[in-house]
């Protein structure tokens, strides 16, 4: 067991998979000699060399095209898209190519690749470098979508993503890179499509993703201590596949559901979960499903504006308390 930052967990995860399998090749902008703009890939270039750790031109479409073309022949590329906002620059490959080739080819073409990308707000980067866009990937049939909230999950879920035969969009949260957590020694391999109950509770279920997980946990502690409301907190971890069993099971127990989402409100991942729960578990619910989200806005750059626009611990506590009153 060692304490590791989320950032160092990323490089350890990539190294774990590259050391295991020569078919794993890593491409992206500034990932090699520069060690990554978030310093999440430090040491990989030195360890695995320039053929396996490829600094690319600033060409997102060519990066994903190269990665997918290589994946079609059986390599297992890891492609970094520096900021998740830039997925829009190469969205053709995300939406039309890698997600569809298996289906369109009657299963002949496989696309075992991972697109890693830094997602989310908190760094005052403004509207084009701060978005939470996991719902962009979630809406496309043929993709898997993962967003870890802790260093240990980064390694385990990343390893699972690399070994998965499908294209996986792997959302790292840029405000979590400095987060520290305990990480077991040796190889770590987790399972895609599994949520995690981080805090058992009996009065309400709060589900959260990535940066929002820590805030949901803190809110749950305060709700218990200050208001006697005992919340179960679930880290969704994987949006596709979605662990509906875990979510529905929790709702059956607590009878209330809150989502904490960093994405802008319309069509956020929580809306889909709310729809599933309403369909499957309506009679388990004792009250409305409540979504706590960023408003439907572009993200501002100023400290106070960005702070107020994202779901905060205070907002989560207030919303749950009022809804449960």
């Amino acid at each position: 067991m060692a304490e590791l930052t989320y950032r160092d967990a990323v490089s350890r995860a990539i190294a774990q998979e590259m050391a295991r399998d020569n078919n794993v090749v890593f491409l992206g902008e500034d990932i090699g000699k520069a060690g990554g703009v978030f310093k999440a890939t430090v040491g990989l270039y030195e360890r695995f060399g320039p053929l396996r750790v490829r600094d690319t031109p600033i060409s997102e479409q060519a990066i994903l095209g190269a990665a997918m073309g290589a994946a079609m022949t059986g390599l297992k590329p890891i492609a970094e898209i520096m900021f998740s906002d830039f997925l829009a620059v190469c969205f053709d490959h995300i939406a039309n190519e890698m997600a569809k080739n298996r289906y369109m080819s009657n299963g002949q073409l496989k696309c075992p690749l991972v697109v890693r990308t830094a997602n989310g707000a908190g760094s005052r980067f403004g509207a084009q470098h701060s978005q939470s866009v996991e719902n962009w990937a979630m809406m496309i049939p043929g993709l898997k979508v993962v967003a870890p909230s802790s260093p240990a999950d980064v390694i385990g879920l990343f390893a699972a993503a690399v070994r998965d035969p499908d294209p996986v969009i792997f959302f790292e949260h840029k405000s979590l890179y400095g987060m520290k957590g305990e990480v077991p020694d040796g190889e770590i391999l987790d399972t895609l499509g599994t949520a995690k109950i981080l805090r058992p509770g009996k009065d309400a279920t709060i589900i959260a993703l990535a940066l929002m997980v820590g805030r949901a946990m803190e809110a749950a502690e305060r709700l218990k201590a200050e208001h006697g409301i005992d919340c179960e907190v679930i880290d969704v971890r994987s949006l596709v596949p979605l662990d509906t069993r875990c979510i529905l099971g929790s709702v059956a127990k607590t009878h209330r559901l809150f989502t904490v989402e960093e994405n802008p409100r319309l069509c956020g991942w929580g809306a889909e979960i709310a729809s599933i729960v309403a369909d499957e578990s309506f009679y388990d619910l004792d009250g409305p499903i409540v979504r706590i989200t960023t408003p439907h806005l572009p993200l501002p750059a100023a400290d106070n504006l960005e702070d107020v626009v994202l779901p905060t611990v205070d907002r989560i506590v207030d919303t749950v308390k009022r809804s449960m009153a």
């Binding site: 060409s59 479409q61 990665a67 073309g69 190519e97 369109m104 080819s105 073409l109």
Partner: protein, 346 residues
């Protein structure tokens, strides 16, 4: 400093594998090569004619982009390729599939949306693949196959094998942004890819001169230091010769190369295009003066390498293959609806 870094300015001759377009004089074919080329081009032509008919009869739906007129391009290159070399193209793809050796029955059954189609009806005209034949599709988004084909070459280079990616696209796709990104990456990393630009003179319904600032597509790689040449894409001998040179260039580790194939599409962009943007005379002139199949027939007869009867026999054999494919594709059952949910994810 800037000049010293400009490789192209420093060594222009070394960067160009050919001083003249190889179209100036296509090297002669032996009798067997002429017959092979004729048979393959004819198979594509008859297959496409049949596809057009079946589309008209309502047996094929959706999109259907015919390759008629361009047959020499894919057939000549296929004659130059070695086993392991890959092909990838866009949606005018039936010719590439047949040239790759894919079964016409499976291709036609995909066009009619039947269960024995290459993609079991989940791909359609624009999306068929054969890993066995190293044919990587069949892509519907103009230009996307260019970065994917570059990726195939990236994998070849990574594995240190001798295979070359033949990445086909049209004069229209040449104006897509990801083509420029791919050119840069391919030359930077010396990837073994031949960019085959099939210049059939029309980007959908817009002529080359109305859509492209630089209409000599062999020059599109210049700013990336990628050599290119224009090839008479109606002369299968010129295509094969250019392909051999380009393949050698790639296999020797020199990086990418562009072959602009000067060709012509006889039919509209798709079956729903009446092609009113050009004159009937223009099409007729190409057909009567430059048709790739007629060129071979004429040579075979002139050199007395074959008789009219021999050629009729070949045509009959080809028609039999196509008719069998059409018959098969008309009577093969439709896909089972349970197929809807297979192969979305592994």
């Amino acid at each position: 400093m800037a000049l010293a870094n400009n490789k192209q300015a420093a060594t222009p001759a070394a960067r160009n594998p050919s001083d003249k377009p190889s179209s100036a004089s296509g090297p002669e074919f032996a009798k067997e090569q002429e017959l092979l080329a004729l048979r393959e081009m004819l198979l594509i032509r008859r297959f496409e004619e049949k596809s057009g008919q079946m589309y008209g009869m309502g047996l094929i739906g959706g999109f259907c982009h015919l390759y008629i007129g361009q047959e020499a391009v894919v057939v000549g290159l296929k004659m130059a390729m070695q086993d392991g070399d890959q092909m990838i193209t866009a949606y005018r793809d039936h010719g590439h599939m047949i040239a790759s050796g894919m079964d016409p029955k499976g291709v036609m059954a995909e066009l009619t949306g039947r269960r024995s189609g290459y993609s079991r009806g989940k791909g359609g005209s624009m999306h068929m693949f054969s890993l066995e034949k190293h044919f990587f599709g069949g892509h519907g988004i103009v230009g996307a196959q260019v970065s994917l084909g570059t990726g195939l070459a990236f994998a070849n280079r990574y594995r240190k094998n001798s295979s070359v990616s033949l990445t086909f696209f049209g004069d229209g796709a040449a104006n897509q942004g990801q083509v420029a990104e791919s050119f840069n990456m391919a030359e930077l990393w010396k990837l073994p890819v031949i960019y085959v630009i099939e210049n059939n003179r029309y980007a959908m319904g817009t002529s080359v001169s109305r859509a492209s600032a630089q209409t000599d597509f062999s020059k599109r790689g210049l700013s990336f230091n990628i050599p290119g040449e224009q090839v008479d894409g109606m002369d299968v001998r010129a295509v094969k010769a250019a392909g051999e040179k380009a393949l050698k260039w790639c296999r020797e580790g020199n990086g990418p190369i562009i072959l602009e194939m000067l060709t012509y599409r006889y039919r509209g962009h798709s079956m729903s295009d009446p092609a009113k943007y050009r004159t009937k005379e223009e099409v007729e002139k190409m057909r009567s003066e430059q048709d790739p199949i007629e060129q071979v027939r004429t040579r075979l007869l002139a050199k007395k390498l074959a008789t009219e009867d021999d050629l009729k026999k070949i045509d009959a054999q080809v028609r039999a293959i196509v008719n069998e494919a059409a018959e098969f594709a008309t009577h093969d059952p439709e896909p089972d609806p349970s197929e809807l949910y297979t192969d979305v994810l592994a």
